[in-house]
């Protein structure tokens, strides 16, 4: 067998509704994040950098931009003869698409049964992190576990859509899984990353479907945690939880901190993304850039402070941007004044326009709008 006996499964649409503005035209997996990435880049790179060379991406709706981004999977070294990238579009459920995780997994039953791999790593796109999965998998195998849940010990992120906390006994064996449990102080919250033994997964999904118990947390995780071998694995690094526009903005701004960047972008674990062949960014005479993250292909002639500029953004002369996120190929005209603005792709701000949001409520401008 090639690879390391693990197949990766990424849910690209999970919790799209939590970030409605940004997912109106795309999946959660193709939400732009961090200046040059889509959220799925982190999930895919984590798998690839952990030696997993077979990855299925479960889609549901609006996945055109995701398909365009992923292509053949070449940018992640997943365009291969053996294994590689598999896009798994929705499978019919009584003439409608799947509702939750259980139905989605049932929809890829054929794919999973045909995989020779013994273990499955599942992850979502709305929790962005850089994680080495090899020790998690090794721990799962060493403990002969059925399910290993990756958790983080910190305050419960307000924006987390599935607020799962876990309680553990000896050897990190999970004794209880609570939904909307204690939210005071530090808790062990589930990041939505699971290592599951494949045979076990197929069995519990079949049982859940047969009894019409379609809630993954309640009907699979909680039911398993007593009689089956469910373990926890602690993740120590940075995790961005993109569960609301507010949290999207806050976690994006966290990237301006050096320690957060070195955690999300360690030299030894590159984050891969689709290559655009843009030239390096040009800073014009009279430009002023402070505390900002800038992708390639930008042309900056104005003032930029505490901002994140994606690839190919143009900032005109005399423009003043503070606390903004400007996505790819958007153009900010001369003397434009922006504060707390999140502009999607291809937005045009005509000369002299002014726009102010607030820290807790940044103004969002949708794709292609001319202001």
């Amino acid at each position: 067998m090639t690879g390391n006996n693990v197949v990766g499964i990424i849910f690209s649409n999970m919790h799209d509704d939590k970030l409605r503005e940004l997912t109106d035209i795309r999946t959660m997996g193709s939400v732009p994040f961090g200046g040059r990435y889509r959220t799925i880049d982190f999930a895919l790179s984590n798998l690839v950098n952990s030696g997993i060379t077979k990855v299925g991406v479960i889609t549901k709706s609006n996945f055109q931009s995701l398909m365009d981004h992923l292509g053949s999977g070449k940018a992640w070294d997943l365009s291969r003869k053996h294994e590689g990238l598999f896009i798994l579009p929705p499978f019919g459920f009584n003439n409608s698409v799947y509702q939750g995780r259980v139905e989605a997994l049932d929809g890829i039953r054929n794919f999973l049964s045909q995989c020779k791999e013994d273990y499955v790593v599942m992850g979502d796109c709305h929790v962005v992190h850089t994680m080495d999965l090899r020790p998690v998998i090794a721990d799962h195998i060493a403990k002969n576990a059925d399910i290993t849940m990756v958790y983080k010990n910190s305050e419960m992120p307000e924006a987390l859509p599935e607020k799962i906390t876990i309680e553990m006994g000896r050897n990190r064996r999970v004794t209880d899984i609570l939904l909307q449990g204690a939210s005071e102080g530090k808790v062990n919250w589930g990041m939505g990353v699971y290592v599951i033994t494949k045979e076990f997964l197929l069995k519990v999904v079949a049982e859940a479907m047969a009894r019409n118990r379609l809630d993954f947390v309640r009907d699979v995780l909680q039911r398993s945690c007593g009689e089956c071998r469910v373990f926890g694995y602690k993740y120590e690094g940075f995790a961005a939880v993109l569960g609301s526009m507010k949290s999207y903005f806050e976690y994006s701004m966290e990237l301006l901190k050096g320690d957060v960047r070195s955690d999300l972008f360690p030299m030894s674990r590159p984050v891969y993304t689709k290559v655009r062949d843009e030239m390096p960014t040009r800073f014009g005479l009279g430009s002023k850039v402070v505390n900002s993250i800038i992708a390639d292909g930008c042309l900056i002639e104005g003032e930029v402070e505490n901002c994140i500029l994606f690839r190919g953004v143009k900032i005109g002369k005399g423009a003043k941007l503070k606390n903004c996120i400007i996505m790819q190929d958007s153009e900010v005209g001369n003397n434009v004044n922006l504060n707390y603005v999140v502009a999607d792709k291809d937005v045009v701000f005509k000369d002299g326009r002014s726009m102010m949001g607030f820290e807790s409520y940044p103004v969002y401008i949708s794709k292609g709008v001319e202001v």
Binding site: G35, M279, P280, T281, S287, N291, I294
Partner: protein
Amino acid sequence: MLPKKECIAMLLAGGQGSRLYTLTKNVAKPAVPFGGKYRIIDFPLSNCINSGIDTVGVLTQYIPLVLNDYIGTGGPWDLDTMYGGVHVLPPYQRQKGGDWYKGTANAIYQNIPFIERYDPEYVVILSGDHIYKMDYSEMLAAHKKAKAACTIAVYEVPYEEASRFGILNCNEDGSIYEFDEKPKVPKSNKASMGIYIFSWDKLRKYLEMDEQNEKSENDFGKNILPTMLEAGETMVAWQFEGYWKDVGTIDSLWEANMDLLDPRVPLDLSDPAWRIYTRDPVMPPHYVGKNAVVQNSLVAEGCVIEGSLEFAILFAGVTVEKGARVTDSIIMPGAKIKAGATVQYAIVAEDAVIGPGAIVGQRPENVENKDEWGIAVVGNNVNVGAGSVIPAKAMVEEDVPAAN
């Protein structure tokens, strides 16, 4: 029998580039970094694919490791096709022994079997030391229209500089009547760009003839072209309009980089219709810090800038620490400029480290004897110690200890 290719390209990438000194100590000239994210060879390779030429032979000879690794299977340039694509062609052994490439013409001669596999009508000969964007298909159209045996791309240089170039003297219809190598009194200002299109049957004939001539240096400019002209073949000049620069020297390499910061220079690398492709460094966006000052500069991915930049070109993964100043300089991938260091009128090569408070290079106005001024170069992986001073025009190949 595979289908025929109308036109293929052969890229001469075997030269040492000795006038780039330490920059080509470990890499061939075409692999020298350029323009914040490119290597020189990206330009001819991208021109090929953008001109519809999908079969390119790259002739290598001098320390090809980095270059071979860089080209790989040609994916970044879309040259990883099933039939054709990019091929690295080093010299090789045969039953009756083998030879290094003795000259540019001999390099092509030795690869006649490669060219014949594609049965081309035309062959484009390119070199790996020029920065330019050219549509070879336009040149090919002119070649066909003139029914020429050979078409040579020419570039109009100022008359006062013409004596540094190989000059072509032409009739009104563009046909060449004389080659004038570095003429003292130039009759024309049309300089050869070292870019040729040949009709393959003609070129093969002259390559074979040239190989028989023991006195020949087996060079295109010195042997093949004059012989063809003498024999009365139709040879025409094709005038190129646009930016073109030979980056074979430290000064010209530095100038061509600085040209990218000048909006008046007609070399637009952001044109989506004529992308210059390159192997992506896979790094996060760059970060400009709280005390940084960045003016008129080009910055690639993965850089962290806490100091100040003016007229600077930063390649991927460069660090400029607090209080460091980089002006009129090129900083190649992975180099580190430590706190308080000054880099001016300099090229700092890959992974070099400029220690805290060190000063590299000098501004021309601060040098009394102008002959002593020039671009300072710090070689690959060289460590310049804290507080040390590197004068103008220096070529640093060994670590420099810290000043006391």
